[in-house]
Symmetry: D2
Subunit: 341 residues, 4 copies
Amino acid sequence: MGLRTAVLGASGYAGGELIRIIDDHPSFEVAHLGAHSKAGVDLASVHPNLTGGDRRLLPNEEVPDVDLAFLALPHGASWEIGDALAQRGIKVVDLGSDYRLDTDARYRFAYGSPHPLPDRLTDWVYGLPELFRDAVATANLVASPGCYPTSALLALAPLLSAGLIRPEGIVVDSLSGVTGAGRKATEGLMFTAVDQSVAAYAIGSHRHRPEIEMALTQATGTSPSVSFTPHLVPMQRGLLSTCSAPLSDGVDLADLQAALDGAYRDEPFVDAIDRAPQTRWVVGSNRALVHGAIDVHAGRAIVVAVLDNLVKGAAGQAVQAANLMFGLDETAGLAMTGWMP
Amino acid sequence: MGLRTAVLGASGYAGGELIRIIDDHPSFEVAHLGAHSKAGVDLASVHPNLTGGDRRLLPNEEVPDVDLAFLALPHGASWEIGDALAQRGIKVVDLGSDYRLDTDARYRFAYGSPHPLPDRLTDWVYGLPELFRDAVATANLVASPGCYPTSALLALAPLLSAGLIRPEGIVVDSLSGVTGAGRKATEGLMFTAVDQSVAAYAIGSHRHRPEIEMALTQATGTSPSVSFTPHLVPMQRGLLSTCSAPLSDGVDLADLQAALDGAYRDEPFVDAIDRAPQTRWVVGSNRALVHGAIDVHAGRAIVVAVLDNLVKGAAGQAVQAANLMFGLDETAGLAMTGWMP
Amino acid sequence: MGLRTAVLGASGYAGGELIRIIDDHPSFEVAHLGAHSKAGVDLASVHPNLTGGDRRLLPNEEVPDVDLAFLALPHGASWEIGDALAQRGIKVVDLGSDYRLDTDARYRFAYGSPHPLPDRLTDWVYGLPELFRDAVATANLVASPGCYPTSALLALAPLLSAGLIRPEGIVVDSLSGVTGAGRKATEGLMFTAVDQSVAAYAIGSHRHRPEIEMALTQATGTSPSVSFTPHLVPMQRGLLSTCSAPLSDGVDLADLQAALDGAYRDEPFVDAIDRAPQTRWVVGSNRALVHGAIDVHAGRAIVVAVLDNLVKGAAGQAVQAANLMFGLDETAGLAMTGWMP
Amino acid sequence: MGLRTAVLGASGYAGGELIRIIDDHPSFEVAHLGAHSKAGVDLASVHPNLTGGDRRLLPNEEVPDVDLAFLALPHGASWEIGDALAQRGIKVVDLGSDYRLDTDARYRFAYGSPHPLPDRLTDWVYGLPELFRDAVATANLVASPGCYPTSALLALAPLLSAGLIRPEGIVVDSLSGVTGAGRKATEGLMFTAVDQSVAAYAIGSHRHRPEIEMALTQATGTSPSVSFTPHLVPMQRGLLSTCSAPLSDGVDLADLQAALDGAYRDEPFVDAIDRAPQTRWVVGSNRALVHGAIDVHAGRAIVVAVLDNLVKGAAGQAVQAANLMFGLDETAGLAMTGWMP
């Protein structure tokens, strides 16, 4: 008999991935499918890829007694229900951003308004297992990282920790597939608007930047300044971050690679590799790949990280954290093998 | 009666674009279509989009007496024939890279070997009209810029010239459509290899970096250090560069925008705009768009430039230079209107 | 001084193409840009590819005195304004479907309700120049064909006229790019819904079938039965129809090709070719290509036709008709050269 | 301890899918990875999505003693090795076409030359479990169906068996993603050649037509004539067939749907559904969906079938057959859940 989970926001792309993963998970089972505007409709009508019998979406609010709730809700929609579930003693993994930042000040900087429950912020653990495994394993409430931060943190944390790069002048340029923008129908996300085109957006102001800086500070004890620019590219899934930073004096490629290799040698889901990765190598899996290089002429380290924004960048990472929270094998139910081509 | 031109490398993508543009040009006409392995085949079999009667590709070498030759050849294939045409008194616009760098030292740095005709390098003018219009207008031999450098130069030169950014710590991350990789059939450029995926390549070592630095130095009198990383994205055409640099003290967004507006107010093909551009806005046209923003937190200027890699990044820019070389209207035959969607 | 035209529905994809074409047309000029929900906004904000100065969208209804109005409106939105413009003595080319069918009975069959102005139906000429050139040339009111019918009619009419195929058992399976579905933001047309997938829709009931049968009857004097199934494929532009019909007794490939060659030898925009065409060969141009083959084993003719749904299938064809209506060169302002790749 | 399998043609797309499936299969394991030109290279270099330790491709010919060999080889490459493995007493599932046709006459019709081992043809069972389950379950040698035939057979066989459609005048128009064309680098399969375009190919002459007709005859006892036209569409995976046939007298939609529902109610991998399916609903899974409709006006049944060409159309179907051959649960190791979006 599996651990009972609720998936809120089940009609979205991250929600669909959660269901796909949990349906095959050896220890979890889906006990509640919550939705907002899609409440009342059949699961198969919103996720025709999912089989497993007739299942219906119910209102997000009507969570039964479960062991764990996954929240895959838009920004601003999880703080209240997340806190209510916590009060009921239900463990929560929030895939959204409401509880990711550790202080009200940082939240105000990112979102321009105070956090509605600032006293609760420290109740939540930032759920990147590769950097904060012990905290995740003992947490009841986990704020799962954003897709962009996951890639940037995996690329940069080992180098900052080892002092191989300087914390000033870090540049992260990221490319994301369109599923990263969610499922809501808008003009800007139509096929005719997105296909055959790329664009940068939220230049100098994306909300994931404070998250990147916070987690780097927590993990490495440095105070980095990161300039982050996301780009939308015409593909369904996949995320690539090209992370660049000034090298510390005397650092060479061997130092860089040794730091990345050392950091990920024993990690089940992250590999440091010696050639430039493509996003499609990991799409469908919970793997991330990092590749370190040096621009000798410019004196900069360049680390490229790739992952599937809906798996390691969302649903897979959330299940990875949940596995730790329940003392399960960290890899339970999570694919190592990607879909290709 | 038009000015007679030869198009060498007519079977490639840039060659096809040259023919498309020249066929509609009021003053130029195509008098010779040169090819290498495709010599002897019908034009329509390699470019089925081109109409205009039965035309056949001939060997690249058999250039008749023409007024102008466009060379759209792979790297290393234009230095010899370009020089031979120059000796015959034929004006040449080389879309390739053989004559873009101004010194043998720079060439060795970029390509790892000496230039075969180092004494000729100074005979060629670097053909970016927006930065070197007068030189182009009086040149007989023009080395037309690469697609990546065009975007980076348009983004950065006005800021460097005005002292708004510092020359150290410049980062250029570029995204290119697949036509930028040429037409040769390789495993890595198959639909199944490229679609639904992105990747960085030539990290820290791309040949366009020395070209960017050279032209910035020539145009602005500074000695910038540029870290350049290109990325391949799954679209046919379009190129976007996100160019980032540390701000000089006291510079604000108004300064940045004023510099870009001033630089391009009278330019027919470049517009400074106040929203983040998409590549598809300019695909099919010879236009480039630049958009300046500031990352206040990180103290960096971020300028995004977009263009069509085959037009403003190749064939259109070459015709723009040719227009200047023959005293024609700089915009003759060049589309201002893009193809969308 | 050009002939003054109004473009209603200027914010849509066909509207944008009309503007793009008319802006470069030697005899027409845009005197009014009409829109519905986008009235009041700048043209550049809805069609960033279009240059040509500051232009603003106005309400569709406020058409000034012009020589010609193009209606690029949704189904049901052009009958009233089309009739009002006709009453004012303005020539009209309606790209929509309101006036394409010749009888109220056919309209009821296609749309399930009576035509609001059935007496007006005969005032409008079905605007496929290749089949009805003389009627178009003398018309004041033209109903421009749909994209699917254009392809099917060009493929089938010559064979039916020559008696080479039988009128029963005709099957037309068509593939269309996503721009054919319009610009309105819906869940089903998002990149995430459309990319990497194909589907058939409106099986057995698409509104274009009666239009195909009507025009075939008018052009060939036969009464064909056509089973038509459209498919949506993940590309921006382009339409392909595979049209199949039982061969009449004794017909061979030479007969088939002779009929197609003969029909299109003198047509400026249609070519009969001897290899299977790709849609990208004609995207951006007003060309259509037809290719005839025979399935000997099954005893069927198979004709494949390709065109750009927004050009020969919409805006280009409308301008072609308008050229005829004003006694201009039929090819004026219309590209023969496609965009590739 | 699993049953030991060999995968020949391991470097191709179907080979990669076989490995992906077998690696997660509860009863099979990969004991030999065979390749031709890629023999000697690491598996990860040709399939970077596959994890599971260092594995190397060996020559196809060096098959050790295994329980089962999967042949994922080009046409013409499996008859000899397939026969040799059979002589060694190894069970074989051939994903290729060498042993699919049941007579030399049919082979000559399809391929234009005699079969090299015509006496062996009857040793092989055509491996579509939904039509020939018992034969597959007792076979030692299985010729797994092609991707196009699988879709057409699932759509048409129940209707022909029930006499709901007439065997003359059947038209199958199919759309396939690009992985269906294999992995070999050719000009026609480059991203720049395939993206943003569709085309029909092998019109009237595709080799899968005789296979469709043979299997329909075997399964239904009729002698249908099928006109088959495949189309290449710009997506990685997925196959859709629109199958159309004249209705028998008096047949209505309820008859059609009852036949499809009855045929697939107990099938684990095929569902008859009441809305038009998209290919992406089943990509990544071994499911096929069929949807029956009627074109009342034209008197034709139209059945649309979708599947993943690399799974139910290749590797998944082969494993499904292998499960039957070894008396395993038919669904063992085969995903029911697709990848979306």
